[in-house]
Amino acid sequence: MSDSTVTTSAPAFELSRLSKTFYPLIPWHRHRAVTAVSELTLNVPRGIVFSLLGPNGAGKTTTIKLLAGLILPTQGSISFFDEKGRLLARRPRIGAVLEGSRNVYWRLSPMENLYYFGEINGIPRSEIRRQAKELLSMFDLADKANSSVQTLSRGMQQKVAIALALLGDPDLLLLDEPTLGLDVESARLIKRRLRHLVEERGKTIVLTTHQMELAATVADRIGIMQEGRLIAEDKLSNLISFFRKQDYEVEMPRASWKEVRPAASALSFDEEECDEEDCVRVTFHLEDTNDFYRLMTHLKEQGAPLRSIRQVTPTLEDVFIEITRRYRTNATDTAQAQGGEVK
């Protein structure tokens, strides 16, 4: 995670009350319309990795495709800006890797794919040559440059797709599940390259993923979507601070815990076995800092020999689950208040 990354405040793009409803082709089936994105308003600054998280069907892929111009919005607008913050009349060059597909010609080699798409994109030939070499070596594909894509592993195909998305030096990169199904090493390489692109080359990357670890590692800002709505959006550190609780994890010998336990029963806690033998891990869920002081005093009075103590920091996964849970609870309450039915 890179909270320390300095980002410019100039926007890369802005979504204003963007909505997308998919209607069935058959007119009398219009009641089966699905709203994939609803009233989405978002401002993403240049030079950051923005990660969109959300359960399946939350509207992440639709948002990415709306940005790419592959789907037309039902309502709302998308504005793109140049590096000086001026509104662009047209969509800038966008590189994209879309969900579940490798988005390349399987029968051509990585090099041939880069040349073909470079040519139709109007990139000068000398640039295609230079960038193709650079991109293939960046993703460790130089020795596979002339092999047919269909003979490459899934990880390599994914890397070819990302290399292709980077061709032409696009300012905006849209990556839908870029590390889906990749081995650890390939996923790590892609994460490193993404950070490099943002920090050294000032690219803006929008990334959707179900892998919390990936988002936590590479994203500067996180947006959480559910049922087509953006329900949270902030820096990861801010999201974590917001959901940080006074939870403390204490490890001690089992015998000591037996002595301490009756006196600690006034506090809320969970206990579990440690990895070590004859050891208990107790997580205290405290109300405030005063509770912490009381707990420490209590442990000191009992003379409990502590093996370790640490404040539990919520992970992005914890934050994600909490935010989506709260959203569901609110939605249920609202529906019940209106006498409606929750779907």
């Binding site: 998919f22 209607y23 994939a36 111009g69 579940g100 597909s101 988005n103 399987w106 029968r107 040519e119």
Partner: protein, 268 residues
């Protein structure tokens, strides 16, 4: 213009690489087309016998067969490429890199036509070897014949855009293509000249029929296409093809927009 030439070059290179790398597909296609011709040729000869009538109509038979190849190629190419490219996710990549998709399809149509000429030359060679029948054509009629072929193929490509547009929306419409191939086969061999005036007018509104009629005048009867008696027919062919390419393109653009509204570009 430079960008268009680069597009053309990129498509030529892509086609050449694929043909070079997968020669079996090309050979299979050639073999199947040749075997179909052989079946028809031998079937017709066994029915009619080695009569003068059969000998006279053989050249027309060959012309119809070659033009039928252009018809199925123009109609199936676009729908097939949309089906395959959407299943691989390449369709969306193309739209990202080159949003003027219709223009790209014009270029691809041209490349396909050139490829088709090479294929036809090979097929014609095999047919001549089998039937010992040469098509009569002097150098003076080469230009008009080329013009008629191009105009006919433009109309067929336009007709193909209707199905290309439907393929953008519904993807798997290959079976419709199969039925169309059969339909065009009938169309290529129908004795339009012997039908009623209304029937003739209706059939000449379809792609292929007028082109075949003009080609038979040049290649079977050995008469000039640019003769004053045939100029009306040539103008009719040009108007017919212009209508098909314009209407087909407009329909294709509508389907493209609908596919973007419904989010169907990436579906397969």
């Amino acid at each position: 213009m430079t960008q268009l030439l680069r597009l053309l070059q990129a498509e030529f290179i892509r086609t050449l690489i694929l043909r070079w790398r997968y020669p079996l597909e090309l050979l299979t296609g050639l073999t199947v087309m040749y075997l179909i011709f052989l079946g028809l040729f031998l079937g017709a000869r066994s029915l009619v016998g080695e009569t003068t009538g059969f000998e006279l109509s053989l050249s027309g038979f060959i012309v119809s067969y070659l033009m039928w190849f252009f018809a199925i190629s123009a109609i199936s190419r676009l729908t097939y490429s949309i089906e395959v490219e959407s299943s691989q996710g390449v369709l969306e990549q193309i739209f990202l890199n080159y949003p003027r998709y219709l223009l790209l399809q014009y270029v691809r149509g041209f490349v396909d036509f050139i490829e088709g000429l090479v294929f036809i030359a090979a097929l014609l060679g095999l047919i001549i070897l089998t039937t010992h029948r040469m098509l009569t054509m002097d150098w003076a009629s080469a230009g008009p014949v080329a013009l008629v072929v191009i105009l006919t193929v433009v109309g067929l490509q336009g007709f193909g855009f209707f199905f290309g547009g439907l393929a953008l929306l519904f993807k798997r419409i290959g079976q419709v293509g199969g039925v169309l191939q059969f339909g065009f086969f009938l169309l290529a061999y129908l004795p339009v000249e012997r039908m009623s005036v209304v029937g003739q007018q209706l059939l000449y509104c379809l792609p292929l029929t007028q082109g075949i009629r003009l080609l038979k005048i040049a290649l079977v009867d050995g008469r000039p296409i640019f003769a004053s008696a045939n100029l009306g027919m040539l103008a009719g062919l040009a108007a017919n093809s212009a209508c098909y390419i314009l209407l087909g393109s407009a329909f294709f653009l509508l389907c493209e927009k609908k596919a973007k509204i419904d989010g169907r570009l990436g579906q397969y």
